[in-house]
């Protein structure tokens, strides 16, 4: 990077001669970058496959996740003694196929993780923009609320909220509206704090002053000039949040406070497994492994995304 200037200067003519280097085509640059971030790329591929499997669960799963045969209850997975190809990961306490329930469980986790992030981001970004741009009393009030809410651990607030409002309406058998709202409302301050700091930084910059001099409305300056520049932190934060929400939703379901039965969720599968775990280790292992691998992939993908979006960490 920091080569001395004399490198490219021909001493005789005193003119600057740039080293001839053929420009790399765009797609090769992208490919090289993907290779540099291969862990994240791999995680991204895994997540795409997971989303695909969750969306087309109806066509992929070998069994109906809601119906079991009691005669086939608590079958072991294929590699244990007594396992068979019929139920690769065995069956649960009422004879439902574990693999099918895991696949349908991905639906709940991904949907809640994604939608709760949207709720949290919507509230947090709106209030963060208001606090950072208007300042004064608005900022004081919003900042105080942020500080108050951040004093209590997110999971404690979520428990309190969900305990009062209950899981509420369940759309299409797997989206519990209240769970999504509760998770979003319990964690918007994280967004608001980041956006507020970002707006404070941006609003002093020349392009905002220029926009103001041109007589643009506040709304236009906020939405067209400031918000797009605060986009990268929102995206990076959101990947972390999706993973946190998946873990939190599974915990609420684990306690029986999340998405209500009979909807298969990773958390409720863990809860069901608890009473049988003393002789059937696979029952609590697989749902937890599903949560763990999914959140790990999201975190790794998020790390890669941050490197990609942050110009300072990019090596050209």
């Amino acid at each position: 990077m920091n080569r001395p200037i004399s490198d490219g200067v021909s001493a005789a003519a005193g003119t600057l001669i740039l080293p001839t280097r053929r420009a790399m085509p765009g797609w090769r640059k992208v490919l090289r970058r993907l290779w540099q971030l291969r862990t994240a790329t791999l995680s991204g591929v895994f997540l795409v496959v997971l989303v695909f499997v969750a969306v087309f669960a109806d066509f992929i799963t070998p069994y109906n996740p809601y119906e079991g045969e009691l005669v086939n209850r608590l079958r072991p997975p294929i590699w244990e003694h007594g396992g068979s190809w019929e139920h690769i990961l065995g069956t649960d306490q009422v004879g439902r196929d574990n693999l099918s329930r895991l696949i349908f469980g991905a639906r709940v986790s991904l949907a809640v993780g994604f939608l709760a992030t949207v709720v949290a981001a919507a509230i947090g970004v709106a209030l963060g923009l208001a606090a950072g741009y208007i300042g004064r009393l608005t900022d004081t009030v919003i900042s105080t609320v942020i500080n108050i809410q951040l004093t209590v651990p997110f999971i404690l607030l979520a428990l309190l909220f969900i305990g009062v409002v209950g899981p509420g309406l369940v759309i299409a058998n797997y989206i519990a509206v209240n769970v999504i709202i509760v998770l979003g409302v319990a964690s918007w301050p994280i967004y608001a704090r980041v956006i507020r700091a970002e707006v404070f930084k941006l609003r002093e910059l020349d392009f905002v002053t220029a926009a103001r001099c041109l007589g643009f409305s506040d709304a236009r300056i906020l939405l067209r000039h400031i918000l797009p520049n605060a986009f990268n932190p929102i995206i990076v934060l959101s990947t972390v949040q999706v993973a946190r929400f998946i873990i939190a939703e599974a915990f609420l379901s684990f306690l029986g406070l999340g998405t209500p039965p009979p909807t298969p969720t990773w958390g409720s599968m863990l809860a069901d497994a608890r009473q049988f775990m003393f002789d059937k280790w696979w029952l609590p292992t697989f749902p937890g492994l599903a949560i763990f691998i999914t959140t790990l992939a999201i975190n790794l993908f998020g790390d890669g995304l941050r490197d990609w979006l942050d110009p300072y960490s990019r090596n050209i």
């Binding site: 105080t144 609320v145 500080n147 108050i148 809410q149 951040l150 004093t151 209590v152 651990p153 997110f154 999971i155 404690l156 607030l157 428990l159 309190l160 909220f161 969900i162 305990g163 009062v164 409002v165 993973a243 873990i247 599974a250 915990f251 684990f254 306690l255 406070l257 863990l270 497994a273 608890r274 775990m277 003393f278 280790w281 609590p284 292992t285 749902p287 937890g288 949560i291 763990f292 959140t295 790990l296 999201i298 975190n299 790794l300």
Partner: protein
């Protein structure tokens, strides 16, 4: 210093007051407190009668003032379930929660500090890479599943430790380890990055130049200066630790405040819910306040800001 102190006290007071408002609004404005007292099939007339009897039909502000007046002196009302003052129930359970939290913090520190030092000292070595990898994985680990897996391994398989319960030191090992492992990755990364900063400083070179042993350089000169930011951030993360303790208690049936709270949530025992959340918030806010104070004493730049 006294201005700084006054500002911190006011912030603490506002935080705790704010939490009480949130708890009140959730239970009395969003939820219907009468649902906690009657079976779901109760006819509307009976509900109205009971609402009147309990004073739930008064203006919401009057109800709040009533609640606040009680809460200030520690009177959160009687538990609907146990017919005992809610505060007493919470305080009975508090030692167990604090025990778990402190033990978890201890385990996290015991893991994080040595691993963080080694990782920073031999940066990009095999040990550092493995530690980083484990930390990344640890941050994605759902703590309740970690707890179940620990039970599976140490209680069911090896039969070394009890799966749940309270009382003997053996009962504490698994929950404390679970909570510690959950907290350690963040702490480890903090120690590592702090240590890397400090090791690049001039006074470290000076210490080496005057012929000190590497042990003295790292342990006396580098580690001490790393600890200020690390203790600050860890202290401020006390809330996170409490959140982890809440989850850990449910997995190991550890009879702390969180287990009480969750049972109160199942049974809509509003006074206990309120007392538990407010007391936990009070403790977290108090710890944050103490950390701020200690840091301000150690580092005069902060209180002058």
């Amino acid at each position: 210093m006294s201005t700084y102190l006054a500002r911190q006290v006011i912030q603490l007071a506002i935080a705790v007051w704010g939490i009480s408002v949130i708890v009140f609004v959730v239970n009395f404005v969003i939820g219907d407190p009468i649902n906690a007292l009657v079976p779901p099939e109760t006819p509307e007339e009976t509900r109205q009668l009971l609402r009147h009897q309990y004073g739930f039909d008064r203006p919401i502000l009057v109800q709040y003032l009533d609640f606040a007046r009680g809460a200030v002196v520690g009177n959160f009302g009687e538990s609907y379930l146990f017919r005992k003052p809610a505060l007493d129930l919470v305080l009975e359970r508090l030692p167990a929660t604090l025990q778990l939290t402190v033990a978890g913090m201890g385990v996290a520190t015991l893991i994080a500090i040595p691993v963080g030092i080694i990782s920073a000292y031999w940066r990009y070595s095999l040990i550092d890479n493995i530690a980083t990898l484990v930390a990344v994985a640890g941050q994605a680990m759902p703590i309740y599943w970690l707890g179940l897996m620990l039970i599976l391994l140490f209680s069911v398989h090896l039969r070394w430790l009890p799966a749940s319960g309270y009382g003997t030191p053996q009962h504490l090992i698994l929950p404390a380890f679970c909570l510690g492992v959950f907290t350690a990755p963040v702490a480890m990364r903090l120690v590592r990055s702090g240590m890397l900063d400090v090791l690049a400083q001039d006074y470290i070179r000076t210490a080496r130049a005057k012929g000190l042993t590497e042990w003295a350089v790292v342990m006396r000169h580098a580690l001490r200066n790393t600890m200020i930011p690390v203790v600050t951030v860890l202290g401020l993360q006390f809330g996170q630790l409490m959140g982890g303790a809440v989850i850990t208690e449910t997995v190991f049936a550890w009879p702390g405040v969180a287990l009480l709270l969750i049972n109160a949530i199942y049974r809509s025992d509003i006074p206990v819910m309120q007392a538990a959340v407010i007391i936990l918030a009070l403790i977290i806010a108090g710890v944050n306040f103490l950390v701020d104070l200690v840091v301000a004493v150690l580092d005069p730049r902060i209180r002058l800001k």
